[in-house]
């Protein structure tokens, strides 16, 4: 209903907005980036020669909570876009800030987790588990952090009252990025925590 059509119409060869197209192509390539890291984790799964092993330190309940937080932030993000399309200035700001805040809580959980792992002896160089785990989840955390910075930038624009149906696409593209970070976490949570989180030392399942 609330189209951005009143905004200046761009002529493109595909009839599709270039920036949005760019974001989708980027997300497609980012899939490959994460697939490489996930495949590396799975290849080295259960191959660590010494501990700590996942079963010693992974806390599924705590990570389930942080997963909920990230899901909530995705919901807040779609509400921010809906508010932008309604030109509801107050709720644009509230939902954008809520999204950034929930993302920050997720990062807080991750910092807490990394720190407690470090105290238990798991570092990037401790074993194959540490190397592959921190590389994968660390890059995901970096994506979330970039998203938070982007959200806060958008919040500043919103505070100046410059967001509305005309800039719907700006918020939508930010939303695409944010939801992508969420779906990557859906995969990581399932593979690294729910499935591989109980791996003990010697690997009975070779080859994952």
């Amino acid at each position: 209903m609330a189209h951005a059509a009143e905004h200046a119409i761009e002529e493109t060869t595909t009839g599709l907005n270039h920036r949005k197209m760019l974001m989708w192509i980027f997300l497609g390539s980012d899939c490959m980036f994460f697939a490489a890291l996930i495949a590396t984790y799975m290849v080295y799964r259960g191959q660590s020669l010494n501990g700590p092993y996942p079963n010693d330190i992974i806390s599924v309940p705590i990570t389930t909570i942080s997963t909920f937080v990230l899901l909530c932030s995705s919901f807040a993000m779609v509400q921010a876009l809906a508010a932008t399309n309604r030109n509801d200035q107050k709720w644009i700001r509230i939902w954008l800030l809520a999204t950034a805040f929930l993302g920050a809580i997720f990062i807080g959980f991750q910092i807490f987790e990394f720190n407690s792992f470090k105290n238990e002896g798991l570092t990037l160089g401790a074993n194959l588990f540490g190397a592959t785990f921190f590389t994968l989840t660390g890059f995901h955390g970096a994506h979330v952090t970039i998203g938070i910075i982007w959200l806060l930038g958008m919040f500043v624009v919103a505070m100046k009252g410059r967001l509305g149906p005309a800039s719907s696409l700006d918020v939508e593209i930010l939303g695409l990025y944010w939801h992508f970070v969420d779906i990557v976490w859906i995969i990581i949570f399932t593979l690294l925590y729910l499935i591989a989180g109980f791996d003990t030392g010697p690997a009975p399942l070779a080859g994952g």
Partner: protein, 289 residues
């Protein structure tokens, strides 16, 4: 679809639909959680396909509704799916490539580990055997610079430690491992100073190699680090280290060995397994009265 260049904006789901999607996502996550918690084997081996399926549903719901692919121009879907398929294919290829090598990489690595020494190239100091056997005998006679005495029980400096003339009563001690856990069966041992100890160490693990090393108190981690540097040819024990008071050889899973030594001067000592990484959980106090 062709009337306006902006039709790709499509229509977005209503708030009601967004809430419904959020509830479905939450519900699936809760189901996933209870599949593996508190009982991780609630549905046995079915859990992997079930969890992968559930997360695939969540993935699809988010991209269809939150990212509007269901309502958007198909070209966006195609670009994203192209990347996703390539990603999937690359992931499968990597897994297949490593699976094709066969065998047990971990066992091979365990038997052929070359210690990494900061600032040095670790290669060439230990010749890996060609056969990927998980249970390499500790003293590989082909290892060129194995400076360790040999694989036999190392009865390290004990004679000069004798405090009193010859009050050497014979004492037998026994210790094992708690199955496959990286733990000794006892966290403390004790003996009288000067007694002639015969300690029997049994490796009850079905997979891991272990040893039993008596060291000066507080030095277990340092000795283990030095042992890692000494390498598997030395049985993971630093040769000629004066912190090591007695030690068994490196025992394969299920093996047992006796080591005899004279109890040192009264005080507290530590025993530890120096196989790399085991020292964090495999250790205990040895009290000499």
């Amino acid at each position: 679809m062709s009337s306006s260049p902006q039709t790709e904006q499509g229509h977005h789901p209503s708030t009601k639909q967004y809430v419904l999607v959020a509830i479905i996502l939450f519900a699936i996550t809760i189901v996933e959680f209870f599949i593996i918690f508190p009982n991780k084997d609630l549905i046995g081996t079915a859990k992997i396909p079930v969890l992968v399926f559930l997360s695939a549903i969540k993935f699809a719901i988010v991209i269809m509704f939150y990212m509007h692919l269901k309502f958007d121009h198909r070209m966006f879907t195609m670009f994203f799916l192209a990347g996703l398929s390539l990603a999937f294919a690359a992931g499968i290829a990597v897994l297949a490539m490593f699976a094709a090598l066969g065998g047990e990489p971990r066992a091979y690595a365990s038997a052929n580990a070359i210690p990494y020494v900061e600032g040095e190239h670790g290669a060439e100091t230990t010749k890996p055997t060609a056969v990927p056997l998980p249970t390499l005998p500790p003293a590989d006679s082909t290892a060129p610079e194995s400076k360790a005495p040999d694989a036999a029980p190392t009865t390290a400096p004990t004679s000069e430690e004798k405090p009193s003339g010859g009050a050497g009563a014979a004492v037998s001690l026994e210790i094992g491992t708690n199955g496959d856990a990286l733990e000794f069966s006892q966290s403390a041992l004790s003996a009288d100073s000067g007694s002639q100890i015969t300690l029997t160490f049994t490796n009850n693990s079905s997979v891991n190699q272990h040893n039993w090393v008596l060291v000066k108190t507080g030095s277990k981690d340092e000795v283990a680090t030095a042992g890692t540097a000494a390498g598997p040819g030395a049985g993971w024990i630093p040769p000629g280290d004066d912190r090591v008071l007695a030690a068994t050889g490196l025992l394969d899973a299920g093996a047992s060995e006796e080591v005899s030594f004279t109890a040192p001067a009264p005080g507290t000592y530590q025993f530890v397994c120096t196989f790399p990484g085991h020292n964090f959980s495999m250790f205990g106090d040895f009290t000499v009265k």
